[in-house]
Amino acid sequence: MPIDWKQYELQENFFDELISSPGNARQPARQLVNYLSSLSEDDINSRKIAADSTIKDMGVSFTVYTEGGNIDRAWPFDIVPRVISKTQWDKTAAGLKQRLKALNMFIDDLYHDQNIIRDGIIPEFILKQSKNYLKECEGVSPRFGVWAHICGTDLVRDSDGQFYVLEDNLRVPSGVSYMLENRSIMKRVLPEVFEKVNIAPVGDYPEHLFNTLVALSPRDIAKPVIVVLTPGIYNSAYFEHAFLAQRMGAELVEGSDLVVQDDDCVYMKTIAGLERVDVIYRRIDDLFLDPEVFDPTSVLGVAGLMRAWSAGNVALANAPGAGVADDKVVYAFVPDIIRYYLKEEPLIPNVETFLCYDDEQRAYVLDNLDKLVVKPANESGGYGMLVGPHSTKKERETFAELIKANPRNYIAQPTLALSTAPTLVGKNKLEPRHLDLRPFILQSKDTYVTTGGLTRVAMKKGSLVVNSSQGGGSKDTWIVDTTTGNR
């Protein structure tokens, strides 16, 4: 029995990425949907098996911290891609560049003159109480005025079909390797569709990342030494660190491989002795970077790294302190930040956000906890959240106390009608599952946005939590050009 798209149960009030009404595909997805209909139950099942074994062979894994001992775990992958039209994507990409450009101007301003506070756009106490604002960074001027070189922005599509920014990840966003691996899996799983449909390639990301990093080198030399600094094999994203280092031809190092000498330069320990490092793509959090300045017990970082960075002898990407702008309270101000620095209207809207420090907004939040999603200002990975409609009375009471105790640390947003896409359930049944999209934006000398990004799927029926750390999965994301005709 091939797939009967008329049986696909579209969710009322949710935007579906592939299907517009029962039995009808959206234009960019039409060929894919027709192709899937031509496959038998066995065909689909065997492609699913092929995808799973490819993942095992590739060793694509994402560690979940609670699974003690076993550091590998296959990353759940769905073989039905998510499709977006190129026209819509181009607009979105412009909005993402605009946003990161403004955020970088904002960070640079915060660590220098703080004009945005003096001009009264952002209340001063927000900065004062930000966990991610680092005094040590004041007065430092990274190249091009850019602090967040690699940004992973989470987009969601609401019931109106419009993309909204859910959050900006400016510290150490992960997931781009899965975007790339998903594409190579899909090419093996559905090669026939790639022949026919105009799908934009994604494979040039490592090249752009490399160029972004090279441009940061403090030494004007032909071949700057670039390293990827990983916390090591037990980190959930180790796979990605190794993957990117390999694709860029950079060294993959841990803190113990690096040393800062008296000349305030960073060196790596090689078989021939010490070799100077120019650019560090660091995948460890700010507070573990340098035991001299931050957490003295950290063994992940390098003593003296902040000295070397402040002296301009090494570039860090992202720069320490960049996280000040991915505070979820600051998030609420991003549209104003864009208007303030760029004198432009934001191209992608924010999700409506209630700030708990504001008395009026807090009162609303406390009255409507069962309808809202409450998030701590400084957590990532979906930890410490309250999803109102799915919460128990006890959880809501706990959160009410937390909010009252520390209002600055909480924001709330309406429960979003996250868009859905057909996802393979069981052998060949397609059911809608909720998803989001994480494109990656690069900025140093130039800016770059991935074509599409990583689509994360909540694999559980009805669930809105897509984080890989919370058992989410992923799909390949196709940006399809419908204007130039087919191959």
Partner: protein, 311 residues
Amino acid sequence: MLSKVAERVYWAARYIERVESTARLVNIYDQLLFDMPRQVNFGWYNLIVINSLEQDFNDRYSVRDERNVVKFLLGDDTNPCSIVSSLQSIRENIRTTRDVIPAEAWEMVNELTQFVQENLNQGINRSNRHEFLDHVIKACQQIVGLMFVNMSRDEAWDMLMLGQNIERADMTTRNLDAAIAAILQVEDDEFAVNSRQIIWANVLRSLNADQPFRRAMRCSIKGAPVVHFLLADDHFPRAITYCLNTIIASAKALPKSKDVKREADALHKVVIASTNSESYGSSFRDDLNELQIAIQNLHQLIGRTWFLSEQ
């Protein structure tokens, strides 16, 4: 090249070599047992002795039979030299050196690990053991072959060569030692000549050396020529001389290699000196033992020279 990466590449090469040689050793061992005259009594436990694993084995098993020995060598994850453990080590080392090893090597190691996990019982039971081990051997050769055709002859390559050849030299001394031990067990009776020949032929087969031996030595299989060949041949990749020459050549391409070269040269002279004899008996076991210690010392010197990060 990072010192730590160098160390991991070196160990990955050693473990790949170890998986292949362990698989081959088990794979041909029943042929040896089938061929030996019934009067000669030695069994599977010799494989434990070859690998100096007596203590580990006896801690876990009281019966020294085929099943226990094979299980211990293939699937026991508490035995650090078992195929399962070695594969785990290869994986961990390659996982952390993926920036210098070809990407496909990582996929192949994953495939092989999967295969071994899923089919281990086939290797332990006799009926499909040959197919199972054959697959393991071929997969190892595929991985090494992939690196051989694809890797730049850079420092990572030299580290691979060092690891591979230290492991090979060590394995060859162990095979020789096991052969001498077996020969000493053979009673001086009418079957003796035949039994000795079977044992020496088995040594050559377990090192994939029978054909090269025939071509190089042009003589029948007897103790002295086999020992000479495995110690001193310049061309056979598992002959100790060849291994040492490769180690010296790789070391030359690396920085700070003076001590390693000198030590390997000295070791080579000792190896050549021990090819003067025409008969090899129990005293040769002492020589082999010292040779193993010297190889171990060379291994440590390699570590001190390039791996320890005391800069």
